[in-house]
Symmetry: C2
Subunit: 440 residues, 2 copies
């Protein structure tokens, strides 16, 4: 059988990985897919850069639209990133009847509904394993491996840059700014690292996982997003003394306790018990825990970025699409794991309704009655306390650090309690508040 | 659309899990599969026991053959275990044109070639996600998620009983016999635990993973199998002092360094660096590390046994089969991940040709020149040393424990060196030898 012909849009690190992996493992892939997969054409804005990145073995053109609509091409692989031009090209490819494989989480988290609808209409597949956790087949696990389950929650380290920074802050006791510079020097962080360190990238990925876990549309605009740039070394140390690690987690959770239900979708620094496997995921690695009602917790771990790890996911999608491209759409996995007519409208909850436990650090005057007043305020708001740790602040003998771990509470309550505690004259600095998850 | 109709063979814990999960999550499963999945009939030897296990909602018969060939049934789920009657029934179901889902690792590891051939011939699927690592979708990851890769090795904790025993031995400093009794009391070990503790169950699973990773036939008879029943508490302690944990691993590895290639397939206690995530998998949990040339190492973790975790895998297979049961066979994933005509004959290597590093413990006379003689023998056989630890044996001042970690060597060389070392008059007890893997 003739090889299936793909068109690559973009000539960056992932494209070059795809070209390399397809070349090197062509025999192995053909043994699996029953058919070769061949790069017919690459579309890239700069021909020179593309030639340098991809070598001389592939045909390159600057006309990306021509690639997207080339009648001789079966599958378009979109690797240019961003949400404007990428959207245009993906929709054009779909309209031309081509299947699409993409690594673009921003595109799907923001425009997924429109793109999947267009693809279903045209009877083509849009595959996106590479959009979350790089080479780790987490999309496949969620869409196919765990279909027996009512999935209850997902919590993932899905941004390597921030996990690298947090790992370094903890192991070396360094401050955020120092480690960020190191990460930039090593190539783990971009020159403008905002998307990573402020949690936006993780939120794109969490949004996609949320949709395929619960059968809801992608709703990036409803995600709560908080990054790690304000995190202080002191809190990482205190957390460790209490048996926790701080990780930037993308979390999505089904809330069956609310009338009508609800779904939490959020990214923020999180205390995790150090005995959990995910707490021990270090450096730029990714890991996702999925909790289903039948299977319990399962975890998926590996490289979440990089040329060949991401290409691994792209090529796995190419093999899937190659196998199913002439199949009846009923024989394919639905884009969002659930049949399009079975998506539901369970709302994403505002952050005030999210329930977690909390780590609180208060710099207080070292005088009698302070702890009583603070715990009194928490009690007034129905927030119960799990543990208290008091530490000399070091530089000032009249002040002390008071660390409190709470039990679960709605964020709205904690907001009110925080305002009241902050107003106490004996609370001397802004209260540090970090959410905590048990992940059992 | 009418629900798809399944026939269950067996009425044990997994069957009852399948019935429960299908009932409880019917709506969720239908939203995904686009069609309900209904238990039409259960075949079980004892009707009373089956009724007690499955409740009154399902039709039960003692005529298993009738279930296997019932014209109104689409998919047969084989959960009776064993390799004789199970094989008969599975082949009967296939001959009757039914798809088969099975959790039976022994059956596939031993008779897989015959069963898959019959299924291909008849154009039906045999799905077996539940056969390895229970609810963890490792079969799907290997067959579909990592298809871009030339897989290089797999190492897995794929038997919960032995991992529970090893975890308890380490954390409580207890001997094997004591912990085995505790495991039996808690239901983690069978009354006759031989299959688990001697590594046979893990070898069945490793055999299946070996076939789908490398595209070779299942060859259980070529697997090297060594269990944990001879493991001593002292070696777990020494290993820990050196920064290692001892795990019973199922390992399969591609050896490209040999002319003509070769595949290692083995189960044995193994020292693993404690900083590896898999070294920190405790209790009855399972985890599998897969190393591919593009993606690097990925890890899959979760419950490897139990009623609903195993049912999770069975039902995921049912959803896959439901989606693809009327599809052209070309649109389905090949049974062993590779096209049947693309399986190859790379040989499974004898244990003498396996390459690992070693942990050695020698009880030696505490006198001058002992270490020199031992390291001399190792050097003579081209075995280089990574670390040496000498410890007072405690009960006898004239003896000492000498622990040596070697670099990689072929097992055959180590066998020869061991015979020579053992023959030294200053080596006072049988040498303890445990293989060691870096798993990087």
């Amino acid at each position: 059988m003739n090889p299936i012909r793909i068109g690559l849009l973009g000539a960056g690190v992932v494209s070059s990985g795809v070209v390399k992996v397809l070349e090197r493992n062509q025999a192995e892939i053909r043994r699996r897919a029953g058919r070769g997969i061949e790069v017919a054409q690459v579309g890239a804005r700069s021909l020179d850069k593309a030639r340098a990145a991809l070598g001389s073995g592939v045909a390159i053109t600057a006309d990306l639209d021509a690639v997207a609509t080339d009648p001789s091409i079966d599958i378009i692989v979109e690797l240019i990133g961003g949400t404007t031009r990428a959207k245009e090209l993906v929709l054009k490819a779909i309209a031309a009847g081509k299947h699409v494989v993409t690594a673009n989480k921003a595109l799907l988290a923001v425009h997924g509904t429109e793109i999947f609808a267009a693809a279903s209409e045209r009877g083509v597949m849009v595959a996106f394993e590479a959009a979350v956790a790089g080479g780790v087949p987490i999309i496949k696990a969620l869409r196919e491996g765990l279909t027996a389950n009512r999935i209850q929650w997902i919590a993932g380290i899905i941004n390597g840059t921030t996990n690298f920074i947090l790992s370094e802050m903890r192991s070396k006791g360094l401050d955020f700014d120092v480690v960020l510079k190191e990460a930039q020097r090593l190539g783990y962080a971009e020159a403008d690292p905002t998307f990573d360190i402020e949690g936006v990238d993780a939120a794109h990925k969490a949004t996609i996982m949320s949709a395929i876990a619960f059968g809801i549309p992608v709703q990036f605009d409803k995600a709560y997003v908080e990054g790690i740039s304000k995190l202080q070394a002191a809190d990482i140390t205190y957390a460790e003394q209490l048996g926790y690690r701080i990780k930037l987690l993308g979390i999505t959770k089904r809330r069956d306790d609310l009338p009508g239900g609800g779904i939490e979708l959020r990214v923020h620094p999180t205390l995790v018990p150090e005995k959990r496997l995910i707490a021990n995921v270090e450096g730029a690695m990714n890991a996702v825990v999925v909790h289903g009602d039948a299977v319990g917790s399962t975890l998926y771990y590996g490289k979440g970025a990089g040329s060949e790890p991401t290409a691994s996911a792209v090529v796995a999608d190419l093999v899937d699409v190659t196998r199913l491209h002439t199949a009846d759409p009923d024989h394919r996995v639905p884009h969002l794991a659930f049949q399009p007519d079975a998506l539901d409208s369970t709302p994403i909850l505002p952050i005030e309704d999210v329930v977690t436990s909390f780590y609180l650090r208060l710099r207080v005057a070292d005088e009698a009655g302070v702890l009583a007043r603070i715990t009194g305020i928490l009690a007034e708001h129905g927030i119960s306390i799990d543990a208290v740790l008091q530490r000399e602040a070091g530089d000032n003998e009249n002040q002390t650090d008071l660390i409190i771990l709470t039990h679960d509470t709605a964020e709205g309550r904690m907001n009110k309690a925080t305002v009241q505690m902050q107003a106490l004259p004996t609370v001397l600095q802004p209260i540090v508040r970090i959410r905590k998850e048990d992940l059992n």
